[in-house]
């Protein structure tokens, strides 16, 4: 009588153990809503539990180096120095897996102006350098014919905390303005020549809303969800593009896509592309056994399968949450990268 019960018990226990692979990740806050959706859907599908802590890109990279997570996540790719440090320290490569696209938009508070304003890269750089001080400046008037711009002083609002959003924004400004590149530079937090700092997207949006004549920058998703007015930006082809999912995705349609996926798509040459966009990445060790957080081959395989799922089936969750999905070319390159994942020098079979 009792034996079958025991067998069933043992079986269920065994199954529970087999399914209880759980993966830990940490990093960027920007893709957090998307990752939460991914990992929830993935757990329902496969039973593999993924814990993701949105502690910021910098924190994610720190955790990856400290080997406390299976994967890190970052809005900015690792710099060449960081990659060299990584390879020298751990004797393996770091793989960048792009998961989604985001964009940064210029948000502003201009009483009496209802239609979206047009901006160009150099004008935005001059505004954030403090050189264009009034809304009725000739440079702005020239971009916006027919719009009656008030003689209001411009108040620049920037992020006060380190942020991938700031990285994308400053990277774009440095590309289109040599003066910005020389004076300020590119980074997650920079030494701002002028303006007020707000903490987080909500901080910047709050300040912009509170100060008439303010201009700031926000993630597209945040601006869409909170219905914040934002302007169009002139791309390299000369077209004024208002950021949306289609124009952001178009920005990433590059002809020559680098193998490590560390590509900047700001100031994109794509004619329909929005010029201030970027990938967000998941970072993993190429040799997963070198990451102390990966304790078994089963975990390594689960991680490889998860990443494969994210760049394929997972992509259908992107657009509903306002993240642009990966272009075909990025998926192709990532497939090749993921095929190179190894555990004790043996390739991991993903399918």
């Amino acid at each position: 009588m009792k034996k079958p019960v025991l067998v069933v018990l043992a079986l269920t226990l065994g199954m529970a153990l087999a399914q209880s692979v759980s993966l830990n990740g940490a990093g960027a806050t920007f893709p957090y809503p998307l990752y939460a959706k991914y990992f929830d859907a993935y757990q329902k599908l496969t039973g593999v539990r993924v814990n993701y802590q949105s502690i910021g890109s910098g924190g994610g990279i720190r955790q990856l180096f400290a080997q406390t997570v299976h994967f890190g996540a970052s809005d900015a790719p690792l710099s060449d120095e960081k990659i060299a440090e990584f390879e020298q320290k751990f004797g393996t490569q770091v793989i960048h897996v792009p998961t989604a696209l985001g964009a940064v938009v210029p948000s502003y508070n201009l009483p009496g102006v209802t239609q979206p304003l047009n901006f160009s890269g150099p004008v935005l750089a001059d505004i954030f350098l403090g050189k264009i001080k009034k809304w009725n400046d000739p440079a702005l008037a020239e971009l916006n014919p027919g719009v009656k711009l008030p003689a209001l002083p411009i108040t620049v609002v920037h992020r006060s905390d380190g942020s991938g959003t700031t990285y994308i924004w400053t990277e774009y400004l440095a590309k289109v303005s040599p003066e910005w590149k020389a004076k300020v530079g590119v980074g997650k937090s920079v030494s701002w020549p002028t303006g007020l700092g707000g903490k987080g997207n909500e901080g910047v949006a709050g300040l912009v809303r509170q100060v008439p004549g303010a201009i700031g920058y926000n993630e597209l998703i945040y601006a869409l969800q909170n219905k914040i007015a934002y302007g169009a930006v002139q791309n390299r082809a000369g077209k004024f593009v208002l950021a949306d999912l289609a124009s952001v995705r178009a920005a990433a349609e590059l002809k020559d896509f680098p193998a490590d996926t560390r590509v900047s798509i700001t100031d994109t040459p794509a004619p329909e592309g929005y010029p201030i966009a970027s990938f967000t990445w998941i970072l993993v060790y190429r040799d997963l056994d070198k990451d102390k957080a990966v304790k078994s081959r089963a975990e390594a395989e689960a991680l490889a399968r998860l990443l494969d799922w994210v760049i394929h089936d997972g992509q259908r969750y992107n657009e509903a949450l306002h993240y642009a999905a990966l272009p075909e070319v990025a998926v192709k390159v990532s497939e090749a990268n993921l095929a190179g994942l190894r555990y004790h020098n043996e390739p991991l079979n993903q399918k």
């Binding site: 002083p153 380190g162 937090s189």
Partner: protein, 314 residues
């Protein structure tokens, strides 16, 4: 005698527990200082201790770090907030303890204490949505326009009238520290012996004279302790200040313009610091904040000792 008093087993256990807990507090404080010091050592080594303290540039990209703008911002905001909060909180304490009818005093005391229980992010939100527009439209813009017309030299000192900046941060900070200063002052005033007052009344003193000549001198130790507690609170306040101060890293600070404090820069940059010199510099700023609080507390302790009634320092 001592042996017999403390000889019981229960007493021994009690003493051991007390000593352990007391020692643990000291140990933890020392450990925190050590961790901050060792974490920030790289910054101190790179720029030199004084070079870091007086360094005016904070630039992640060029790798130049100096804490001076934040040190100045912290000291100015805390000191001005304390100066603003001192008289109102003392007045509230006197009103509650001396003048108001008992039931009204209880109500006011309760409300003042409630101010301390509000989370600082609530103060920050209130600041952004209520105080900032008010300060901008009613104080900063009129003053700025006036100075533009009559005293252009003042404009640099005033800074941009956006409502976000030093002035709003200081006002909210002052409001936040009132309950700390006030409730200790209130208790100190209540502890003034009745005989002292009665003696004064017997000499024909008015109520105000009693307060001024007897109550305040007698309670000054407690009042000052409250002031120090408030100052310590102001030095370390992070969230509300970060939301309102505008987070500008450049010296010189202006009255309306953005500024930054040591606590706000740590809160802002810690999450995205990738390690290396930036992280070390943030920890070094933390160490300096620790040091500043320590110095303030020691100074306060020293003054408090000199002030205590009955020790004959006059």
């Amino acid at each position: 005698m001592r042996e017999r008093l403390y000889g019981k087993l229960g007493d021994r256990i009690f003493i051991a527990a007390l000593v352990t807990l007391g020692g643990a507090v000291m140990f933890i404080a020392a450990l925190m200082a050590w961790e901050l010091w060792s974490g920030g050592a790289k910054a101190f080594r790179t720029f030199g201790f004084w070079g870091f303290v007086f360094g005016r540039e904070w630039n992640v990209i060029t790798g130049q770090f100096g804490a001076w703008p934040f040190l100045v911002g912290t000291v100015i905001t805390s000191a001005v907030a304390l100066a603003l909060a001192f008289l109102p909180s003392l007045a509230a304490a006197i009103a509650i303890a001396e003048y108001a009818p008992r039931w009204l005093g209880e109500v006011i005391a309760y409300l003042v204490d409630l101010l301390a229980a509000l989370p600082s992010v609530v103060y920050g939100l209130w600041g952004i949505f209520v105080l900032v527009p008010l300060v901008r439209d009613r104080v900063e813009q009129p003053l700025f326009l006036w100075s533009a017309e009559h005293a252009p030299a003042l404009m640099g000192l005033l800074g941009p009238p956006t409502g976000i900046g030093m002035l709003s941060a200081v006002l909210v900070l002052a409001l936040m520290i009132v309950p700390y200063a006030s409730s200790l002052a209130r208790d100190a005033i209540r502890l003034v012996p009745r005989e002292q007052r009665e003696a004064m009344y017997a000499l024909g003193a008015t109520r105000w004279e009693v307060v001024r000549r007897v109550v305040l001198p007698y309670a000054r130790g407690g009042i000052f302790a409250g002031v120090i507690l408030a100052l310590a609170r102001a030095l370390g306040e992070t969230m509300a200040v970060t939301m309102l101060i505008g987070n500008g890293h450049q010296l010189p600070y202006s009255v309306f313009g953005p500024a930054a404090t040591m606590a706000s820069v740590i809160a802002n940059e810690f999450t995205e610091a990738e390690g290396g010199l930036q992280l070390a510099s943030l920890l070094a700023v933390g160490f300096l904040l620790f040091l500043l609080s320590l110095v303030v507390n020691f100074a306060a302790d020293w003054i408090l000792r000199r002030m205590s009634v009955g020790e004959g320092h006059e």
